[in-house]
Subunit: 144 residues, 2 copies
């Protein structure tokens, strides 16, 4: 396998205003990726990509991530069927974050707990400090 | 100033299913925070919080981040007027990412380039590899 590489932007203007995809991988070799439902805008999950995961995602049109817990490339849905088909990828101003608009295969889930979205709890004030409560309905679970 | 602290979840079940806000700050002391428009669901920006930024956000109802480039706490909008008023905060399954649903003050912008959202470019295929093109309209700029 050849090592996936991406160019480095020569300056701040090229980074922010240019037409080069020049991702700024961190010292751990990763950029952050946010996956959202392409149709509803629901925030599904946050994960990380190294250069190889990003290259495979662009080549295959399906989301690949880098699993930090397993230390391995991760073709999302390869075993669960919850493949994320890429509808659009966006990059942020300083190119250290990616936004993936996806359609999810299989049962439509994204979270390893079985839920559709990983963001299934909200923070509310309790008498002894912040606590969590479930976000109940599918509608409420949309970030819209 | 007292040091902001949050509990650590005693086990995986408490982390994922419990009612404790037990953020898992990384080795750099940070969790990732995604800010979205509370009304439209548009993804506005991705930033980071340390314990102090998270505590101040919960106390004040306005988004505070940790600026990695400046190495300092960052009250978003303190100089620009683009204060992010918190409507709801969610946490993900393993509590290393936060989702902030916000309403943006001032001119409504979030990005230091002057744009409303930091995600103003999409990745498209070019003859020599992936390139970026602008996401033009306000409508298209919504992740819905």
């Amino acid at each position: 396998m050849t090592q996936a590489t991406f160019p480095a932007a020569p300056d701040k203007h090229a980074l922010e205003e240019g037409t080069w995809l020049a991702p700024r991988f961190g010292s751990d070799g990763l950029v952050t990726a946010i996956a959202v439902d392409a149709d509803t805008g629901e925030i599904l999950m946050l994960a990380h990509m190294n250069a190889e995961a990003l290259a495979r995602t662009l080549e295959t049109g399906e989301a690949w991530y880098w699993s930090r817990s397993r230390g391995a490339l991760w073709h999302k849905g390869a075993t669960s069927g919850q493949v994320q088909t890429l509808v659009e990828m966006r990059v942020d101003c300083d190119q250290d974050a990616l936004l993936l608009r996806v359609r999810v295969g299989g049962d439509g889930g994204c979270c390893h707990t079985g839920r559709r979205s990983c963001f299934y709890r909200r923070v509310v004030s309790g008498p002894e400090g912040p606590v969590l409560e479930p976000v109940h309905s599918a509608h409420e679970n949309r970030a819209v």
